[in-house]
């Protein structure tokens, strides 16, 4: 291996690692706040990437039907709850949140499809399209089970994952799609050809991490999420509602997923079922951080990207085996070094 090949591999590894890091941070965030191991995080990425590519092709992304349909189901569930509790006055807000807003977003996206808008506008539309899916999923699948055990929530996650993959096949079709780069430029750095797209990926990932950090450190909502993550019962005692923190963490997860999807869509072909693999690799990163530490998680995810890149050069046929086997030494290392006990699990 020559030094220029090594540099290429490092560049490739960091770009992929940045995406894995975003996935891992979202997984960690959702797990800390709601104890849900959020397998479908990868689906946000594939939905966003496919929607982006479809918009660029001038087609109406099928995601709008998923959004409107999901919103409708959530609205019915929410309205039924409100009815049972005799709180009919909540109906207007339910209708706004789960029906009016999704339909409005769907209408704007549908209108824009044939208009060939600039790609940054399309990217914003995709974000608007994917983000509401987070709270909608939370309302339908997880909120009714908010107090269930981690394993039950995990099984629900698998079910949600299969449902979303199935819907993806129906709505997007079996073929993969790839979007055009935001900026079709590149420059030489020594022997490396660095594409503008890969720089965007890295820059946006770092920016996202800084924003998340600021959100958790500085804002009231961020502090509420942290409080819930540290102690759920305590958080409730000081007036932080479980539904609020759940909704908020899923909204953030969907936002992070949508950003990753938009970023990744020009550099690789995404299929309706690509989400699982990306999600699993992010999950390894999250395990590296022990499902608690954000900096370690980001570090682990980037390391995994590098490992994947180098193993695809040295032993391409065994790449996935190498990447997933790494979880065993990580788990051994984690179990030898961590002394904390799982709290409020065995109540």
């Amino acid at each position: 291996m020559t030094s220029d090949i090594a540099l290429w591999l490092v560049q490739d590894g960091i770009v992929n690692g940045a995406i894995y890091a975003l996935v891992a941070l979202a997984l960690l965030l959702v797990f800390a706040v709601t104890r849900v191991i959020f397998v479908p995080q990868g689906e946000f990425i594939s939905y966003a990437a496919l929607s982006m590519a479809m918009l660029q092709l001038g087609q109406v992304p099928a995601t709008i039907w998923i959004l409107v349909g999901g919103g409708l189901v959530a609205a019915i569930l929410e309205a039924a709850t409100a009815w049972r509790q005799g709180a009919v006055r909540r109906l207007p807000s339910i209708l706004t949140r789960y029906i009016a807003i999704p339909i409005a977003i769907a209408a704007v996206v549908g209108w824009s499809a044939s208009r060939a808008l600039p790609s940054w506008v399309q990217a914003l539309l995709v974000l608007a399209l994917i983000m509401p899916l987070g709270p909608i999923l939370y309302r339908i699948a997880y909120q009714p089970l908010a107090n269930a055990s981690v394993i039950v929530l995990f099984i629900v996650s698998m079910a949600v994952h299969y449902m979303l993959t199935g819907l993806g096949l129906v709505f997007f079709g079996a073929e993969g799609l790839r979007a055009d780069p935001f900026i079709d430029a590149g420059f030489q750095l020594g022997i490396l050809d660095i594409s503008a797209q890969s720089l965007i990926v890295i820059a946006v990932s770092i920016l996202m991490m800084i924003c998340l950090w600021l959100f958790f450190e500085r804002s009231l909502y961020g502090k509420a999420l942290r409080a819930t993550a540290i102690n759920r019962t305590g958080a409730r005692l000081v007036g932080i509602r479980i539904e609020l923190s759940g909704n908020l963490s899923f909204l953030l997860a969907a936002f992070i997923g949508a950003v990753s999807g938009v970023l990744i869509s020009p550099i690789t072909t995404i299929y309706y079922d690509s989400g699982l693999m990306i999600g699993l690799k992010g999950f390894i990163g999250a395990i590296f951080g022990g499902m608690v530490s954000y900096p370690l998680t980001a570090l682990g995810a980037v390391g995994l990207g590098l490992l994947e890149s180098f193993s695809s050069f040295w032993a391409s046929a065994l790449k996935e085996s190498i990447v997933f086997t790494i979880i065993i030494p990580i788990l051994i290392w984690r179990s030898l070094t961590s002394h904390q006990h799982i709290e409020d699990e065995e109540e």
């Binding site: 550099i267 693999m277 695809s312 046929a317």
Partner: protein, 382 residues
């Protein structure tokens, strides 16, 4: 009271009579396809092919029972067993994934049911080979067209990058077998996954070996990433694909980057460009025209043609087998198997089939043409 006991019995008896009587007259074919799962992009066109298939086989009405195996071999086996034991089919067909098709051949051999394999499959043992007939061109036949073209360009070293599955193995083995005879050498064997987000490592390894030409052992749109990667890194040599890659999605994904990609395929991809006297031009043109009328412009693909050709083979063989036994019986299945070895000059969309006891495929050089991506379309290479 008596009435209430009698009526369910009557219904059962009536039902039994209804299900039995048509089973005597009609032919039943069980088809297992991966319409969902990783193989879905091929499974869907395979399934579409059956929509255009004839409604009679050998003059008798036919029912195609199509089940989804989710591209998983264990499901394909379950479907195949169900077809044989519960549905009493006369032949099974499938699947679009090589591992699934191979798994089904065992059921065919165990139960004595003729099997029409819709993908190329690796060599089988004699018991399984006896009952299995393969519709697509062998990988060797297809890749020999590639090697001939390489010879014209004076290629000496070949880089290989392909799927890390049976399909990648099949293409790699075919190249390994054909290259030495033509005085060439395969210098890399890089593998990648269908949904991998990056193939940079593999591409760099191939580039480092400096091959005169590259062969990609992928299929459909997932065959595009290595091609794009090689061109992005400035690879100048010709890049060859295989017959699994020839569809529109490949070009839609690769866009300008895959311009010039060369691949072998069946004549049905470019029937308009073939000479009028080409052996199967009319069948291919008719099928392509009807397919695109049903599934949209430029939707033509090799896979639907394999389903259709499999049915044409059965059509010819059923006509013979009907002379010996009635459908729905083991004797009929056995006669059908024998007939499949004897049918002559079955003109399909991919070529002219002349199977025999030693050759359960029966296609020859007429079943392959080289096509090239030109201005965003697959066109005949001249």
């Amino acid at each position: 009271m008596k009435h209430r006991i009698l009526s369910p019995l009557a219904i059962i008896a009536l039902g039994a009579a209804c299900t039995l009587s048509p089973a005597q007259a009609e032919i039943r074919i069980g088809v297992s396809l991966g319409v969902t799962g990783p193989g879905a992009s091929l499974g869907i066109p395979y399934k579409n092919g059956f929509q255009l298939a004839p409604k009679t086989l050998g003059g008798e009405p036919v029912t195609y029972l199509i089940l989804d195996d989710e591209s998983k071999p264990d499901n394909a086996v379950r479907n195949a067993r169900r077809f044989v034991t519960e549905e009493k089919v006369d032949a099974i067909m499938g699947s679009n994934g090589v591992p699934s098709a191979v798994a089904m051949t065992q059921v065919a051999a165990d139960t004595g049911t003729p099997m029409i394999a819709l993908t190329p499959i690796p060599p089988l043992d004699s018991a399984r080979n006896k009952w299995t007939f393969v519709v697509p061109q062998t990988t060797e036949l297809m890749m020999s067209a590639v090697v001939e073209d390489m010879k014209k360009r004076n290629v000496k070293t070949i880089g290989f990058v392909g799927f890390s599955d049976t399909w990648g193995d099949l293409v790699y083995n075919a190249m390994q077998q054909l290259a030495p005879e033509a005085g060439m050498k395969v210098v890399t064997n890089e593998r990648y996954g269908r949904a991998d987000t990056s193939v940079t490592g593999q591409v760099l390894k191939v580039m480092a070996a400096r091959p005169d030409a590259v062969v990609v052992g992928g299929s459909g749109s997932p065959a595009a990433p290595p091609h794009i990667g090689l061109r992005e890194r400035g690879y100048k040599g010709p890049i060859y694909h295989n017959h699994g890659t020839v569809n529109l999605a490949f070009i839609q994904n690769g866009k300008k980057m895959v311009e010039g990609a060369i691949a072998p395929t069946g004549p049905l991809i470019v029937p308009e460009e073939l000479p009028d006297d080409y052996a199967n031009r009319n069948v291919a043109l008719d099928f392509t025209t009807r397919y695109e009328a049903a599934f949209g412009p430029e939707s033509r693909n090799a896979f639907a043609g394999y389903s259709y050709d499999g049915v044409l083979l059965l059509d010819a063989a059923v006509a013979e087998a009907l002379k010996k036994a009635a459908p729905g019986t083991p004797e009929f299945r056995s006669a059908l198997r024998d007939a499949l070895e004897q049918v002559k000059n079955v003109v399909g969309t991919h070529g002219v089939y002349n199977p025999g006891p030693d050759d359960h495929n029966g296609l020859d050089e007429r079943a392959r043409v080289l096509v090239q991506v030109k201005d965003g379309h697959w066109s005949l290479m001249k």
